[in-house]
Amino acid sequence: MGHDLAPVLELRQVSRSFGPIEVLHGVDIALQPGRVHALIGENGAGKSTMMKIMAGYQPPSSGQVALDGKPIAFASIGEAEARGISLIHQEFNLAEQLTVEENIFLGRELHRGPFLDKPAMRARVRELLAALDCRVPPERRVAQLSNSDKQMVEIAKALLRDTRVLIMDEPTAVLTRAETAVLLRQVRALRAAGTAVLFTSHKLDEVAEIADDLTIMRDGAVVWTGLAAGMDEHGMATAMVGREMSDLFPPKDSTPGEIALEVTGLNVPGHARDIGLTLRRGEVLGVAGLIGSGRTETFEALCGLRPGSGRVRLFGREVRINHPWQAQALGMCYLTEDRKTRGLLLQKGMRENLTLQALAKFDRGLIDTRAEDRALDQAIADFDIRGHRGALVGNLSGGNQQKLLFAKTLLADPEIIIIDEPTRGIDIGTKQQMYGFIRRLAAQGRAIVVISSEMQEVIGLADRVLVMRHGRITGELAGSDATEEAIVRLAMGVAVSAPQQESAT
């Protein structure tokens, strides 16, 4: 396959400003048919912005978009779509109250006469989802789906269109390894069919696996572009971050202290049964499992975010938690995996979001806004949040939103922190910082649970790993036993011996 085929879609010296701030400075990129082009860069580097410009969601402030070599200005998203360009958003772009089928066909419904051809649409949806190994019924409302299923719906929505150019903004951020494999299989099929694919991810191994071409961005400019084969993962990381990367994971050097959390017989109706676990101060407990294994629901129930029953002891004291504020008052906080609908107020600024959970700390009758500003300064420094201070959180880049969410939860100063998918959409440099941060929290004597679908993360970060499957804990792994293979076995239910010791403790 020739690298010098005529590009389908190009950006030529494109700049883009929001108000007075320029976030893209004269970038070039060219997508060729039948090739997968990966775009990587730090959070806030301008990847999503670039993709939106290519798909007609936003016009460039200056420079050109060229389709088949000819400059073009898309009048609407519809026009770009009509020309075969579709974009899968980084943030979910689904109407929550509508069903899967309604969302996938939104704006391009199939008709039979004046009426909708529902059977045909449903059949097509089933087909599309089956190709993605996703078993969600088409009639299910999107609001009831897990994040990964939503992502699959997004992908199905894009695949439905006859695309010449498919642009995917971090499609794998919410997917597990297995689901990612399914997606990459689809991408290869599209590539073989001659589609040009543009793809971003912060998971560099995927990039190395799938990409033909590679563009690396930093601070709104392209810093490297060329054949993907010319760059290994380490090189990518270095080029992205602009410095030499050391070990991703910090040493596990904290020592477990008293028992902080003890759960027995926790049942979450419809999602999990008979969950038992213990967690000590200074410990990082990883929770692994396939998507849909009930990890999120288990810990949400533990924090009073959904109904559940069971015995919970915090620092030796038996407690009943029915509401999240009770959990927080007892020193336990849950950081949601769903930053857009449950984590952040997208229509508000950074400051309001940062302090929402810990507002009591700033409440001196009136809110001490100076103290809030100081807290924001601190959070921006600690987590390297990039973006302009006055911006609405909805306008921050995805990764920066995630960092803000992290900062927000930690501001409440919980003793027990449950973090669901902590590094979703975070670039590799910041990931390293956040891992260091989590470790330091543990070293301060806090107890931490990390729920993650990234096997590497669980293994690299946690002292012990619990594996869940179908709403039950199927095993615990510690130290060198915690290997990817062992986790996968437990998660898939093919373990030789699934030790049930967890529920006994």
Partner: protein
Amino acid sequence: MTDTTKAPIRLSMSVIGPVLGLLALIVAGALLNPNFLGWDNIVNVLARSAFIGIIAVGMTFVITAGGLDLSVGSMAAFIAGLMILVMNSALPALGVGIPVVLLGMAVALAGGLLAGLLNGLIITRLGIEAFIVTLGSMGIYRSLVTWLADGGTLSLDFSLRSFYQPVYYSGILGISWPILVFALVVVLGEIVMRATAFGRHCAAIGSNDQVAKYSSVRVARVRLMTYAGLGLLVGVATIMYVPRLGSASAATGVLWELEAIAAVIIGGTVLKGGFGRVWGTVIGVLILSLISNILNLTDFVSPYLNGAIQGAIIILAVVLQRESKAGT
């Protein structure tokens, strides 16, 4: 697995909710007065529900798409006034007969459509809250009809009225026209909501207009069409209303907007948009009509307290729904 068995149950409970409320009222009515289930009473109640009902069907679309229209009551009064004026002044030229009635109907439909379009255009083009726009136009239409009637009542010429009256009072097989038209509007509305792209687009816009926009839905146009459609249905309702009362005044259609919105919400449509069902609205309209019908059947309470009972039943009817929903 448990999911697949769960979904249908929940669905059917949310369906049963409003129906149960309605049934409870019917049983109460039948116990209070044997004539309640008489043919006459049933026809009366259905026919009078038709005005609000037809409007409420249109309102279901507006609300589903995340909008609101407070002006429908005044709009109906204004259109009725206009229609009467036009018919009266065309009478000498056309004489009593079908042409003048058709002219009146055309005026009502065109007037409704225009009024709805106007609301919709201000809302979608200027991007102003529907609440404010329609509150404003509510005042405007109410004022205009008062002005047209010179503070009094506009009445249809009496001979013309006798000619036109069958449009309210007669029908086919003992079922009067308003009922037939209402039924037709409901069936069409249900089909449009469930089985056409327009219905889906309304729900999508009400759910998240950004998403709808990104999916190439013509958001402004769909919104505009919901208001225009509602206006048209107000015109249809007025066509049925005028032969009944033969007049229009400042007191015509007062608080219809509140009744229509209440019917829509009692029926299970979400006030903030994103989900709507036309059949639910019908149940809502019937519940509201039956409450006042039942209050007329008995006289054990002071008429001063009618409003209190009505209010309490409205809340109860909805509690019933939510309870049964929560119960699953």
